[in-house]
Symmetry: C2
Subunit: 319 residues, 2 copies
């Protein structure tokens, strides 16, 4: 399948083409350039909702429940589960197969895991690219689910129009994680497993955290929804709140601003990746490796080495 064919088939919603395109994204393949160019005119339609939270809060259960809620409205939905730490290719993940079963016969649902072998921000464009592919394939809603807690997760949350932060009662880690950075990106909070002891305490803590931030009347204040996703409880309300946030984004003009910011990050990531690969080829006295040895031994400081590299990059590359 050449690039124009692949683009055509992805746009037509062909599952095999979709899978192939996302694998190319995962592998950072060189063929991506014409594919992304071809897909670009078909993008900008899908709504992207991110789900984030500590391991154990019930992210995949909640995502699955939301898939049902979205489907009940007749909209198509794709799930992209991103594991920033996984070196394995996602297509074969056991979890996918288990999760696919419920929706296996529903052509309006597509579920895919993706590994992200990013290093030093190298593949920062992987998630945006995969979203592009799913967007161009015509899904109405894309749910992005991340594994783990940390900067990678915050970054991925930044790819969504609406970010849902999940907590669960009795998980100190969960609220702690929410406090530490994830709070900033939360548009909607869900306290899952809300039938458990401590749900009220978690609710109170979250309310306090939300109240601590100064907001104007026009600014969005993240609502908190109590859910028991495993029993489908609270999931319709959760989706209503997500819908409400999207309406706010549209009416306030913030949607366009968020999407531009994402595109900006994506373009920057590509540029930096191109520059990084050129850096590897720069010829300094003895090359980058001997420079690194000098820095490691303390003979040269890292900024001095960086200046030298930049100078060489300017002199030798096509820049």
């Amino acid at each position: 399948m050449n690039a124009p064919e692949l683009v055509e088939r992805v746009h037509g919603g062909d599952r095999r083409a979709l899978a192939r395109a996302i694998t190319l994204v995962e592998n950072g393949a060189e063929e991506l350039r014409p594919i992304m160019a071809g897909l670009a005119p078909h993008t900008g339609r899908a709504r992207v909702v991110g789900f984030t939270g500590s391991p154990g809060v019930g992210k995949s259960t909640t995502t699955n429940a939301v898939v049902r809620a979205v489907r009940a409205q007749g909209r198509t939905v794709a799930v992209l589960a991103v594991d920033p730490s996984s070196p394995f290719t996602g297509g074969a993940l056991l979890g996918d197969r288990v999760r696919m079963q419920e929706h296996a016969t529903d052509p309006g649902v597509y579920i895919r895991s993706m590994a992200n072998r990013g290093h030093l921000g190298g593949l920062s464009w992987a998630t945006p690219h995969a979203l592009r592919v799913l967007d161009a394939a015509g899904f109405d809603v894309i749910l992005v689910e991340t594994v783990g807690v940390g900067q990678a997760e915050v970054d991925i949350a930044g790819q969504a129009d609406t970010t849902v932060v999940l907590c669960a009662p009795g998980m100190g880690d969960s609220v702690q994680a929410a406090k530490a950075g994830v709070l900033e990106v939360a548009d909607v909070f869900a306290i899952n497993k809300a039938d458990r002891d401590g749900a009220r305490v978690t609710l109170r803590e979250l309310r306090q955290m939300i109240a601590m931030k100064d907001r104007t009347d026009e600014e969005w204040k993240p609502p908190i929804v109590m859910t028991v996703a495993a029993e489908d409880k609270g999931v319709d309300e959760l989706w209503e709140r997500i819908d409400g946030h999207f309406a706010h984004l549209e009416s306030s003009g913030e949607l366009a601003a968020r999407r531009s910011a994402r595109a900006r990050d994506e373009v920057q990531a590509i540029v930096l990746d191109l520059l990084r690969s050129r850096l590897g080829g720069v010829e300094t006295d003895g090359g980058l490796d001997s420079l690194a040895r000098e820095v490691a031994s303390g003979e040269r400081d890292p900024y001095g080495a960086a200046d030298l590299l930049l100078k060489e990059l300017g002199a030798t590359s096509g820049l």
Copy 2:
């Protein structure tokens, strides 16, 4: 305090100077350049040991126990706790104060948390810089402890001479995380809370994972240590294994290779950070922002936009 003074005092082990230097690193301050240059000749001595693992495995308890083991040998030790997702400055973290208490009167111990507001790899040099500061201050051993699971953690593990991956029985997540990427960076495994049910199962699983990888006789095979860090059990053995790994690194010549690779990453991160700040200032038709809007709306593809930016960067910057 000007840069030469700060350098002098950090090298002399002055605590206030140390704290100030690491805060500058955290904030990505412009003054870092002369400070890092001044500190460079004093670096390359300290041994860096990383501790990583899912929340709840007992990372800080284990780190504290290892601090005691290292001190018992008469060596000085610094602990750097890196929270990749935290937007808060680390010096004031409650955890630090609690943890400091045990060692408050010991001048041979220094404990410091550091936030890392890195975005798109922007502050990839923060941890290496902080390690540089502690190295130049003369600590024999630096323990780096990371919070959370994910790519950021794997990256930070890459900053250590020896990386210890912690697991705990009955935490499916823990072994799962180990499988997914962290395994690749593990030099030593510790199964903490080894008095709990399921410790044998975790041991067996880890052994199987380790056995799956092909190794030559010369290659290091990660040992597994059972610990109950809260009761100081197994901690001496853990430190012996870490010592054993360091001896292996020295005898095999791998130590120099690892440190050069780290220095290389550090220099690249600085170069990319400098390039990124220049990118922000590039003047394209209407600027980067209008380019981003076109990409967001699908009028332009991200690679086309990246090419344009690169061209402008070459034309307008000093590169």
